[in-house]
Symmetry: C2
Subunit: 84 residues, 2 copies
DNA sequence: AAGATTTATACGCAATCGCGTCTATATTTA
DNA sequence: TAAATATAGACGCGATTGCGTATAAATCTT
């Protein structure tokens, strides 16, 4: 399984959505676990830039994920997604 | 160099501060590059939960960093920092 | 295709964002 | 320790959050 690299809100949201679906959870399921509205989860996954950190961390926690901060690896796949 | 793992806003802020200092930048320097106030950078690094994703991503970008999302590694060093 | 489920959007609300600016504390350096 | 630099925190402001609640629109299932 390839790394889930995010350099933008959109990429981050896409990653979360992918993982949530792999876990067979609906946005509402996730919302129940995190006390976030389903609509809020939707906006997080859509990559809205003004979503708050607390919202992101709550989602990560519920999905049992962690964040790693590291120097940008040159020419990673993430660049391509960014082009559109 | 050990991984920079964040499971909370506080850890994330601490990581950013560490890296910024290693790069010999002040909060104002970073603010200039990102169009963020020095005070905003301060709050980001302090781990305020309501900071927006756009603010985080701007800082990451200016520091040439990227995020990796991955399953929580059990018993990592990050747990200890969480105990405060 | 119809029905059920899931996701995207909307409303008013209180709270809080980041901005612009300024000042009080640290913290570092001479 | 004095002076310089850096960080934390405040002010009012306009904008937008996530909440609570609904409903449209899109996506599965059967």
């Amino acid at each position: 399984m390839t790394d889930q690299i995010a350099r933008s809100e959109k990429q981050l949201g896409a990653i979360l959505r992918r993982i949530r679906k792999q876990a067979n959870l609906t946005q509402s399921d996730l919302g129940d676990q995190t006390h976030l509205r389903q609509g809020t989860v939707s906006r997080l996954e859509a990559g809205e830039p003004a979503i708050q950190l607390r919202t992101l961390m709550a989602a990560l926690s519920a999905l049992n994920l962690e964040l790693v901060v590291r120097p940008r690896s040159k020419g990673s796949a993430a660049d391509i997604e960014d082009l559109f």
